[in-house]
């Protein structure tokens, strides 16, 4: 499997993603500078975390106008997988490839710690190797991960089973107490209509090896490879 990691000015999880995909998941990986209008031949596109354009204007708001994003939209429209992690998720929202928007964390603080996620949908290419209700321990690191969408969009996400992950307790309990940022319906990750675009705030690339305390993030790469 071939993967392309898009690099924006201010991306800072690009090398972590590259490492996890190449050295752990054994994919063939290339970096793609955001100025490129075309992607190399690739199966998977990764929009990594970071602070593209210094989060100026709004998180992800400037990166969505990068030339590479047109190629990413085309890749997504062809039904091929795109994963946006953290700032990558924010870019996907600004680009309209996923519905909703990000608000400042409810606590107003930058939150950087391991959290528990409950897999809410396993019928998508990113969670194929998981089962619904399974819990994953994956770190988050963001100041704006407070996912927001209107009632109509939320209903659609629920009805179409497009909520991939929700924040939960170690025992899988979903409630305000285990929501680190105030996100609507405790959402940590969502899918597009065709289920080939995933946006998630937690960082699976930081939980792909035992030395990193958790290997749960690896299941996403393994699902994509299966």
């Amino acid at each position: 499997m071939k993967a392309a990691v898009i690099v924006f000015p201010g991306s800072n999880c690009d090398t972590d993603c590259f490492h996890a995909l190449r050295d752990v998941a054994r994919m063939s990986v290339e970096y793609v500078w955001h100025k490129e209008r075309n992607l190399p031949r690739t199966d998977l596109v990764v929009l990594p975390g970071g602070f593209s354009y210094g989060d100026y204007l709004r998180t992800g708001a400037v990166a969505r106008f990068s030339p590479a994003m047109e190629a990413v939209a085309k890749h997504a429209a062809e039904g091929r997988p795109v994963i946006g992690i953290c700032n990558g998720f924010q870019i996907l929202l600004e680009a309209g490839l996923l519905p909703g928007a990000m608000l400042r964390n409810k606590t107003l603080t930058f939150v950087c710690r391991h959290v528990w996620l409950r897999v809410e949908d396993a019928a998508n290419p990113f969670c194929r190797k998981m089962r619904q209700g399974q819990k994953l321990c994956i770190p988050i690191a963001h100041g704006e991960g407070n996912y927001y969408c209107d009632d109509e969009t939320l209903k659609k996400l629920r009805d179409e089973s497009r909520i991939a992950f929700r924040y939960c307790s170690e025992d899988g309990e979903v409630s305000e107490a285990f929501n680190p940022n105030g996100s609507r319906d405790h959402i940590a990750g969502i899918l597009n209509e065709k289920r080939n675009v995933l946006g998630m705030m937690p960082h699976p690339e930081r939980a792909s090896e035992s030395i990193l305390a958790s290997e749960d993030g690896r299941q996403i790469w393994e699902s994509l490879l299966s």
Binding site: A61, L93, G100, L103, R104, T107, L108, Y148
Partner: protein, 83 residues
Amino acid sequence: MFKAKVNVTLKKSVLDPQGKTVMHALDSLGFKETRDVRVGKYFEVSLDYSDRKKAEEALRSMCDRVLINPVIEEYVFDLQAVP
């Protein structure tokens, strides 16, 4: 030449954690009559147009496409001719 002053706020339906925190701070400072605070953004944009209608059209387009995120934000603007 025109100068636009654009005020951006979160939609009424969107909770504003920053505004809430500022309000609590004001309350603890003794401003007990404070009922609500909403934090927003402000842009000043200079536009090189001679026609007001065209300037307004361009301004609306840049607001809708770039300056604001219509999912969470709304805006009002004031457009003045400047020498």
